[in-house]
Amino acid sequence: MTSSGIRDRVAIVGMGCTPFGELWDQGTNDLLTDAFVECTGSAGVAADDIDAFWLGTLGAGNSGLTLSRPLKIDYKPVTRVENFCATGSEAFRNACYAVASGAYELVMAIGVEKLKDSGYSGLTGIHKVGDGTNAQLSSPAAFSFLVPAYCHKYGVDPEELGSVLNRIAWKNHRNGAVNPRAQYRKEVSLEKIAASPRVAGQLGVFDCSGVSDGAAAALICRAEDAHRYTDSPLYVKGLSLIAGPAAGVIDPEYDYTSFEEVVRSAEDAYGQAGITDPRSQLAMAEVHDCFTPTELVLMEDLGFAERGTAWKEVMAGTFDRDGELPINPDGGLKSFGHPIGATGLRMLFECWLQLRQQAPPERQITTVTEGGRTLGLTHNLGGGPGECVSFVGVVGTEPSE
C-alpha cells in the first residue's frame, strides 16, 4: 500500500466536546449545537468562516441536513460520513484531506450520536437482516472470543487474565473519575469490577463500555494558516483507515488474539508520521477500549507491548495515567460510553487538552510536561475480531523541521 500521508500539512485549531452521558434532556440537535459553538468559540471563528463540513454519525440522522438544519448552515457542503465505530475519526480524516487538497481553507469535522433514546442495552441496529443467517451475537459476545484465545495462545490462566481485564477497567474508570466530561466519574474498586454480573463469556458489566450520548467537533485549516486561529495548534502527522477482507470470521488461520486491520493501520500511520518506536515516542494514546480485552490486544497491535506481554504490562502499570505510556487518560470508552459518531473526535479532544498542556493539573499527563513528548495517538475499531475497520491517527504540537 502506498500512502504518503499529509504530515504537517493541516492543523487542528479549535475543538469542542460536550459532556457525554445519559442526556435525557438533550437531543441530537442540542448536542451538535453545543459541540459546534464550543468548537468555533475556541478558535474565535463564526459559522460563516467555515467552508465545508464533515458530519460523522452512525444513526443520529442521514445526510448533511442532519447538521445544516439545526445549525442553519448557509448553503455549504456538508458530507455525512459513516464507518462503524470509526465514524468520528473518518469524518475528521476526510475533512483533513479536503484541506490538504487545497479545496478549502477552513473546515469542520463534527460527530454525534444519540444512543440513549433507543431504550435498549448496548449498541443496536448496525446489521441489516437480509436473509436472516447472520449470527445475532451481541458485541460483547463477539469481543469475548478474544479471552479464551489469548489465554490459550500465551498460556495465561483465565483467572489471571480476568485480573488483567479488571485492572484495565479499574484504570480507565480511575482516569474518568477526574474528568468532568466523562459519563462515569467514580472510581470503581477491583472487587466490584470482579463481582459484576457476566454479560458474555468471561466479560462482566464492567468489561463493557457504557452507552451514552455526546458530540465533539474539530476545526481544521492549512498548517501555514494555523496561527491565525491559535497559538498552539495540533498538527496532523498521520491518518490511516483500513478495512480488511473480513478474513478472520471465515479463515481458520485466524486465532482471535490480534486485529490485523489495527496492525496495518498503525504501520501505515506510523510510517506517515515518522514514528519508529511508538511506546517511547508517543506521549499518550486514546484507544478503542469498547471492551477490556480489546484494549489488552490493542496494546500489542499498536506496538506498545511485545506479543504476549501486554497482560504483564497492564499489571505493571505501564499504561496508567502516570505510567510510561498513558492509555486513555481521559477515561476511554469505559468512562465516556461510546456515542459512535462522536468517539473519535472525543479522543482527539483529549489530545487537544493534554498535548497543549491544557488539561487540569490533577489529570495532566507528565509525559508531556516532564517527558517533553509531543505526539498523541487516537485509535478506533469498528466491527469485531476478524472483521473490522481500524483508524489510527497521530497528532502533535510541533511541526517537523
Partner: protein, 484 residues
C-alpha cells in the same frame, strides 16, 4: 400402504420433560416417565429435515423425486412447509414437494400416497408432530415430539403389501379449532366404543385380503392418540402378546402423526426376512396394512448400521432430562418470558432468502476451484487467491467441525437465553461463526466436536427464520447420540 420402503430415519429431539415436573408444578400426579420435547428452535418442519437427512444417509438410498410431508402442527398454513424441508435436504429443484397437513390421520394417507407414487420413482414421506395441550393436560404429559422419514422406491423395498383395509365414521372423539392451544376430547369410553369395533373389522378384512390369520402375524403395531382404544385393541386382536410391538410412549410420549411411522421403523430395525407385520392405526376410523418383509430388509438394516444410525430402541432411552417445566412452557409460548432489553429480531427478507437459498436452507459453502479455499457463507471472490467467479457449491450440512472459540452470550436476543456462540472450523476447511444448540453451556470447550442441525432461529412478523446451528456430537461414527 408402505410398500417399497428402502430407507428410514427417526429424529427425536435432544430434550425430555419428566412427567413428574408437570405433576410437581400442579401439586398433582402426572404419571411416570417422560416425553420428548422439541427445543425452542425446532418445529415440525425442522424436525422433518433432521429425519429426512437421516433417511438419506445410508449408502445406496435413491434421491427422492417427490417429497410428501404430513403434520397436524404445521409451521405455516397456506405456504408449503415441504418446500422448506425440500430446500434443507438439498433435493432437486425438479422434485415436487407437498404438504398433507391437518388431522393426525393425514399421516396414514401420506404413507399410502408415497407408496403409490413410489412405484413410479423414488419418493420421500416425512411424518412429524409436535404434541401439545393445555398445561397439565393428558395431551401435554402423554404427547411427544419427533419426526420419521421414509424413502420409498420401485425397487428394493424391505416389505411387500399383503393386505390393507380402511374404515371411516363420523364421530366427535378428538377435535381442535385452528389456533387453539389444545385439543378437546369427548369422554374416553365413548371414543373407545366407537373406535375398537371399527378397527377390529378393518383388521379382519385386511387379514382376509392377505390370506392370513392373526396367528400368522409376527409383529403387531397398534397406534393412535386414543390410549384406551389402543390398549384394548392390543389384546382384542388375538395376536399373542409377545408379538405385539411395545410402544415407547413411556419414555418419549405419543408422537401423534409420527407414531405409526416410529413404531414401523422400530419394527423394521428388528424384523427378519419373510415376517408378517401388521400396522393398525385408529384415528376417526381405522387403517390397517399387512406387510411381509423381503430379502432387501437385511441390506437396508446393514446400510443403516454402517451409516451410524441409532436404533429406535436406543434413541428413546437417551435425551437430556433436566428440562424445567416453566422453560418448557416458555418454549411452547404458553408462558411469556421477559425478553432482554434488545430490539426484537426482524423478519428475514424474502428476496434475500431466495437469492441465498443454497446457503440459508442447504448450508452450501463455495469452494474456489483455483486454490480450494472454502467460504461460509459462499462468496464470489476468493479470500485466499482473489479469483472471481471460480466457485463451486459444496454442501456442508453433513460435514463436521470443531469449536475454535466460543462464548456464552447473555445479552443477545434468544428465545431461551443464554445464546451459545461459537466459531466452527470445518473438517476439510472453512470457518463459520454462529450459534450452538442442544448444548450444555458449561460443557463447551475449545475443541468440542460439532455437527450441523437445521433450526428455526426465531419468528418475526409471522416469518420463521430457518437456518443452521451447530450441536455437539457424542462420538465420531454416530449422528444421533446425545453427549453425556
Amino acid at each position: 400402504m408402505v410398500a417399497g420402503i428402502v430407507s428410514w430415519g427417526v429424529y427425536l429431539p435432544y430434550w425430555r420433560l419428566e412427567r413428574r415436573a408437570i405433576g410437581d408444578a400442579f401439586g398433582a400426579s402426572a404419571g411416570r416417565g417422560r416425553r420428548s420435547v422439541a427445543s425452542y428452535d425446532e418445529d415440525t418442519s425442522s424436525m422433518a429435515v433432521e429425519a429426512g437427512r437421516l433417511a438419506l444417509r445410508p449408502s445406496g438410498v435413491p434421491t427422492p423425486g417427490r417429497l410428501y410431508f404430513s403434520t397436524p402442527a404445521p409451521a405455516y398454513l397456506d405456504k408449503t412447509n415441504a418446500a422448506t424441508v425440500h430446500a434443507a435436504l438439498g433435493l432437486s429443484p425438479e422434485a415436487g414437494a407437498y404438504d398433507l397437513c391437518g388431522s393426525v390421520r393425514s399421516a396414514w394417507a401420506t404413507l399410502e400416497l408415497a407408496s403409490l407414487a413410489g412405484e413410479r420413482g423414488p419418493v420421500m414421506a416425512v411424518l412429524a408432530d409436535l404434541r401439545t395441550g393445555l398445561p397439565g393436560s393428558v395431551d401435554e404429559t402423554q404427547g411427544g415430539d419427533g419426526a420419521v422419514a421414509f424413502v420409498l422406491a420401485p425397487e428394493g423395498g424391505v416389505a411387500e403389501l399383503a393386505g390393507h383395509a380402511a374404515a371411516t365414521d363420523e364421530f366427535l372423539e378428538r377435535w381442535r379449532v385452528p389456533g387453539e392451544t389444545g385439543s378437546r376430547q369427548w369422554e374416553d369410553r365413548f371414543g373407545e366404543e366407537a373406535l375398537v369395533p371399527l378397527a377390529r373389522s378393518t383388521f379382519d378384512r385386511a387379514l382376509a385380503q392377505a390370506g392370513l390369520t392373526a396367528g400368522d402375524i409376527d409383529h403387531l403395531i397398534v397406534t393412535g392418540l386414543h390410549a384406551r382404544a389402543v390398549a384394548t385393541l392390543k389384546k382384542a386382536l388375538k395376536v399373542p402378546a409377545d408379538r405385539v410391538v411395545q410402544d415407547h410412549s413411556g419414555l418419549i410420549g405419543n408422537l401423534g402423526a409420527a407414531d405409526a411411522g416410529l413404531a414401523l421403523a422400530d419394527c423394521l430395525e428388528r424384523a427378519e426376512v419373510g415376517q408378517v407385520v401388521a400396522v393398525v392405526e385408529v384415528a376417526d376410523g381405522a387403517d390397517v396394512a399387512v406387510l411381509r418383509t423381503t430379502e432387501a430388509l437385511t441390506g437396508a438394516q446393514a446400510a443403516r448400521r454402517q451409516a451410524g444410525a441409532r436404533p429406535v430402541a436406543e434413541l428413546v432411552e437417551q435425551g437430556r432430562t433436566d428440562l424445567a417445566y416453566p422453560v418448557f412452557l416458555s418454549w411452547r409460548g404458553v408462558l411469556q418470558r421477559e425478553p432482554p432489553r434488545r430490539p426484537d429480531p426482524e423478519r428475514p427478507d424474502a428476496p434475500a432468502s431466495l437469492r441465498t437459498e443454497g446457503w440459508k436452507f442447504g448450508f452450501n459453502a463455495s469452494r474456489c476451484q483455483v486454490c480450494g479455499f472454502r467460504h461460509l457463507p459462499p462468496t464470489r471472490v476468493c479470500l485466499s487467491c482473489r479469483a472471481v467467479d471460480q466457485m463451486v457449491a459444496e454442501r456442508m450440512a453433513d460435514v463436521r467441525g470443531t469449536v475454535a472459540t466460543y462464548t456464552i452470550d447473555r445479552l443477545a436476543y434468544s428465545l431461551s437465553p443464554p445464546m451459545v456462540g461459537a466459531v466452527i472450523d470445518f473438517d476439510g476447511g472453512g470457518r463459520y461463526r454462529g450459534e450452538m444448540t442442544d448444548v450444555d453451556p458449561d460443557a463447551v470447550t475449545v475443541g468440542t466436536r460439532v455437527q450441523m442441525t437445521f433450526r428455526r432461529l426465531y419468528t418475526a412478523e409471522g416469518v420463521h427464520n430457518y437456518f443452521w446451528k451447530a450441536r455437539p456430537v457424542a462420538d465420531e461414527g454416530d449422528d444421533q447420540g446425545v453427549p453425556t
